[in-house]
Symmetry: C2
Subunit: 240 residues, 2 copies
């Protein structure tokens, strides 16, 4: 049975303006690989309602799971929850369970549960809350879309809550070797190895260092013995 598929939607002007280097995509990609869910597409869109709504619909239709990052805080540029509700044509309002989480937190810390903070309790009808052990304000899952915060520590904590609830597939195993030859010298035997092993994904990632060209060859597959055998063949082809 093929692995479940996934897409990620990163919401935020800060990535697109070059201010912030994305960390959540890299983190989620690694975690999904471990549990055998294949991340097949990532989209990064700006804080723009039509763009967020269109991307949510397209990814929700196209993949088994969608993970979003960003835009669920209390400020005016946090529009993700409303956009997700619009994408699924669901009403959205402050919800009692989410409000209680925030009210308890602010009662404890003596801060005010003002209108801005209450925005973080806006949850689309029918969504299931995602626990936030870092800063309490919850994420939520609706249909196959998991809506999470952009702050990396919070995003990671939410991913840790959501992923164990999903049915994974076969974890993708990988091994790699570094060849100090230009890709042009290894391409033909590498293509033959790939052809002989249709169940494996064989990738070549060229680099150059101090004027010398080389390539990291990564072999991925769900059958460890097959991956091992292909790496052994590769080492014999290109003794270093």
């Amino acid at each position: 049975m093929p692995n479940p598929t996934a897409a990620m939607l990163v919401i935020g002007d800060e990535i697109l303006s070059g201010r912030t280097r994305d960390a959540n995509m890299y983190y989620l990609a690694g975690e999904l690989t471990k549990i055998g869910i294949d991340l097949l597409e990532v989209r990064v869109v700006s804080d723009d309602a039509p763009a967020i709504i269109a991307a949510t619909k397209a990814l929700s239709d196209g993949f088994d799971h969608v993970f979003t990052s960003g835009g669920i805080g209390p400020t005016h540029d946090d529009i993700t929850a409303d956009c997700i509700a619009a994408a699924f044509d669901r009403p959205i309002d402050v919800r009692a369970d989410a409000r209680k989480l925030l009210a308890d937190l602010y009662a404890e810390t003596g801060r005010e549960l003002n209108d801005a903070r209450l925005r973080m309790a806006r949850i689309p009808d029918g969504a299931v809350l995602i626990d936030n052990p870092v800063s309490v304000a919850p994420g939520f899952s609706i249909e196959n879309v998991h809506v999470m915060a952009g702050v990396p520590a919070v995003f990671q904590a939410m991913v840790a809550t959501v992923l164990p609830q999903l049915t994974g597939g076969q974890p993708l195993l990988s091994q790699s070797i570094r060849l100090m030859q230009g890709e042009g010298d290894i391409a033909t035997p590498l293509a033959e190895l790939a052809k002989a092993n249709p169940a494996l994904s064989i990738g070549s990632y060229p680099f150059q260092k101090d004027g010398i060209f080389g390539a990291n060859i990564v072999i991925r597959g769900t059958d460890g013995a097959q991956v091992d055998a292909a790496i052994v063949k590769l080492v014999k082809m290109f003794p270093q």
Copy 2:
């Protein structure tokens, strides 16, 4: 006049499997911001022909410029050039000008211009070559799509060739301040500041450090005096 718009298409399993942390998106985003081209969407897709072709069409239709990264080397997993040709319904073959660049290089260095290396001279009909001062094998521009290598040093060199040929807009200027208050305490005055300055984009990027919540506020706009004035107002609102 609004700034020209752009999208980026990153092609490669290595990003989606979590093996490699993207560097090209971050680089391109910064360079485009400097010349006033607004990067509005990024898509990352795997080494899968239908996915690459569909994304190329969608982004080429939706934005003024599209920049792609990855998949133009000599190995079997380098399928970008063929996919771009298919997206624009153009024939593709080894082209004389690209072949000559490679032939000269390999004659100089005594390496063989084999079939694998010749794959790097496959250029869609009507495309214009993009110079590669790092490793010679060219990128190309076709319609509004600029096809570049994934190796960061080569990608950056190609970006340096392409961007001066494009008509930019007004560079986006930005200033930021770091507030050691939770977003919930600053959200309402911040929303008012945003409402009073519709030409500015005001973003709030929360963080937490050692259990203390704060936010970096970034104000962006094309009019430096307006950005300055808004930052001054913000500092007065929240004396630190």
